[in-house]
Amino acid sequence: MSWMHTTFALILLPAIVVGLFRILRGPTAADRMVTAQLFGTCGVAILLLLSTGMGNPVLLDIALVFALLAALTTMTFIRRTWHGSGKKKHGYSIS
């Protein structure tokens, strides 16, 4: 158990908690979704620090899955929820 790494992880926790405020405020759905990206990067950093802090290498794999899921969440949101309804200025292109 390394207290230093656990403390570092605890320092990062407010970064996520304060970011939740953006979900409350919005104003658009995309603004809320950006917080998912915050969870992706900040959450991964916390998991990595905890992995060293608690001496548990399994947390590295969890961080990996977390990173993948954060990206998939955003893409699903864009493709399924947010994209369809709204004025389309251009054709839909995969880029």
């Binding site: 790494h5 304060v18 405020f21 953006r22 950006v34 915050l38 950093a45």
Partner: protein, 106 residues
């Protein structure tokens, strides 16, 4: 035995320093997310600051781990997060453009 330990200590402490350097980036990413005026500028804040912060944390932990296997895995995680967040950032910005959300201007 003693020189080896000293060497390890130097690696460990420079790792700690790198992690400490990374933390302010995460905090300023969140401050930007709260403070910046529109979706585009908020995307800037999160994508750039958090990825640099994660880069510092990853390289610090890699120095402290002293193992090539863990270092490779940490770098793989960082690369994945880089690709994922730059792709999500582009997708969100593009959708916002297509919805005619006007960027905030001075």
């Amino acid at each position: 035995m003693v020189p080896v330990k000293k060497n390890m200590d130097i690696l460990y402490h420079s790792g700690t320093l790198l992690i400490l350097l990374g933390l302010p980036f995460f905090l300023s990413g969140t401050v930007g997310l709260i403070r910046f005026p529109d979706i585009y500028t908020r995307l800037h804040a999160l994508t750039k600051a958090d990825n640099v912060g994660l880069g510092f944390v990853v390289s610090g932990l890699a120095l402290q781990s002293g193992s090539w296997a863990v270092t490779a895995k940490l770098l793989l995680i960082w690369l994945l997060v880089l690709i994922a967040s730059s792709a999500s950032c582009h997708l969100i910005a593009r959708s916002a453009m297509q919805k005619n959300i006007q960027p905030w201007t001075r």
